[in-house]
Amino acid sequence: MTTLSLTKVNKTFGATHALRDVSFDVAPGERVALLGHNGAGKSTLMKIILGLFDADADTGGVQVVGAAPGSAQARRQVAYLPENVAFHPALTAREQIRYYLRLRGEPVAQADELLERVGLGHAARRRIGTYSKGMRQRVGLAQALIGKPRLLVLDEPTSGLDPVSRREFYAMLDGLAADGASVLLSSHALTEVEARTDRIVILSGGTLVANDSLANLRRSAALPIAIQVTAHRDSIDAVAAELGGTRHNGKMVSLSCSHDDKLARLGQVAALGEVIEDVEVLPPSLEDLYSHFSQRSPS
């Protein structure tokens, strides 16, 4: 059974078509990254999933943990971290988390442990008004962990976190996913979702333009792979002539080839033997991939 199922979701705000026929599913334990430029429709889609507002009438369907979005059953099992999460500045993190625990019917004694888990144990009794953006983001994470949710909807969860905190955050997601929770997170920082998500969905102007694992997206985009060959200074001209690449900075030759030609090209390099000092294979970067998909006109 899928945790989240979206069928032809549409949403307009006046003349703005925020979402157009967006369909995809999220399975239990799956981590899906929702990518897209600002205004692509990520937050709008998340708010529909949470039932904060309804999709347009011409939407095919939205099923969240087998229930309607925003229904009592869905709300009990779905956690949310809003973009730029905010709390009342007069409350301490501990008081705020205890409040959320009460709302979910969980023992308030868990508050300290939750705050400890997101690295806020030391600041738990300070007012949130004194917190940095990263610390508020951690309070937001702590509340999203309450009560073993089956689906976590996280809107730009790592914005405001430093690199170390980001790594800790993704490690936490791994644990949740291993326990069977599904995660839908949005981001425009591409590199960080690379190793940490099972699937990538790209929205462009409200339309879904990609929905696959990173490896499959790479294959289907068929973007050229770069191969950089380093050779001895005195044989570099011969190497460049032999391989037909472009030379630069005295001892390097750059080649570009398709995915299917990669092994053949590497074979040619290897055949040159001793004169080759080093070979580096650079797959298309996520940025390349992302611009490839988000600029492609929707089919």
């Binding site: 708010k47 949470l50 039932g51 904060l52 507002f53 009592a72 709300r75 009990r76 779905v78 956690a79 949310y80 809003p82 730029n84 999460v85 905010a86 709390f87 009342h88 007069a90 409350l91 008081e95 705020q96 409040y99 959320y100 009460r102 709302l103 979910r104 019917g105 007012r127 937001g140 509340q143």
Partner: protein
């Protein structure tokens, strides 16, 4: 598991704590205490010839004061309730939690009612203390004071809920503040002036006998004043509005006082339902 009232109590607890930190509790209690003290100190005219005890007279002055002050304090506590959360961005998160919107409102309502009750209790206790100290017969006025207390609380409840409704309609704290001040002026100050002008112009005609009494009890603040003053003959005489008060059965005023909080809360819930975070 969540009990029936858990979300409401959780909300009330958080809201009360916020009001403590924002000094709202101190401000509300301080304002009521200050005005009660001033009233007790100045309202020391000899009252023996009216046959009323000191506390009953104090209750009459407190009633006239509460008509202005209680709605004002209630509206100032409540105007930020929805608009403030919307602007801070805290609303979208809490609305994904398993609680109904009306429960969210009821939590705030409970906290604000408690703060108001504290303020009223302190203010009225000061007034009662001063009266009892000055006049041994003042204990006779205690029932009137108790009546003033719970009707003040109901009057406050009405305006707290109206504050929520305006907060939800305005969506922005600045606009909500403007709306509640406008409403206070219209309902508490201008309404009575308008009625008075109409009664004078009508000079005892159909408006004065048929419409005016209903317009009076239709306004929660006027119903509150009528009920408290009419409930005690002595204070009604002292305040000199016996005529108007006698034209209206007290039960009607009481019904108005009791129904207004429910109606206002219903209105607030409907307005809040329309808010999209």
């Amino acid at each position: 598991m969540t009990g029936l009232f858990t979300p409401i109590l959780a909300g009330a607890g958080a809201e009360f704590r916020i009001a403590l930190r924002n000094r709202w509790v101190v401000i509300a209690v301080g304002v009521m205490a200050l005005f009660a003290t001033v009233l007790s100190a100045t309202g020391s005219a000899p009252t023996g010839e009216l046959g009323a005890d000191r506390l009953s007279v104090t209750v009459a002055s407190l009633t006239s004061l509460a008509v202005y002050l209680v709605p004002l304090v209630a509206l100032l506590m409540s105007f930020d309730a929805v608009a403030g959360e919307l602007e801070r961005g805290t609303l979208s998160l809490v609305l994904t939690y398993p609680l109904a919107r009306v429960e969210l409102l009821l939590g705030k309502f409970l906290a604000h009612l408690l703060i108001l009750a504290l303020a009223l209790a302190v203010g009225y206790a000061i007034a009662a203390g001063a009266a009892l100290w000055a006049d041994p017969r003042a204990a006779a006025g205690l029932p009137a004071l108790w009546r003033l207390f719970w009707t003040s609380e109901l009057l406050g409840a009405t305006f707290i809920a109206i504050g929520y409704a305006l907060s939800a309609l305005a969506r922005r704290p600045g606009a909500a503040a403007g709306l509640v001040i406008g409403l206070w002026l219209a309902l508490i100050v201008l309404y009575d002036l308008g009625l008075l002008a109409a009664v004078v112009a009508d000079s005892g005609g159909r408006f004065t006998t048929q419409v005016f009494p209903w317009m009076l009890i239709g306004n929660p603040a006027d119903a509150f004043r009528l009920y408290n003053l009419a409930a005690s003959e002595a204070t009604a005489a002292a305040a000199g509005i016996g005529g108007a008060a006698n034209a209206i059965p007290m039960s009607h005023a009481l019904i108005s006082i009791l129904l207004w909080p429910l109606a206002a809360l219903g209105f607030a819930t409907l307005a809040f339902r329309k808010v999209i975070p």
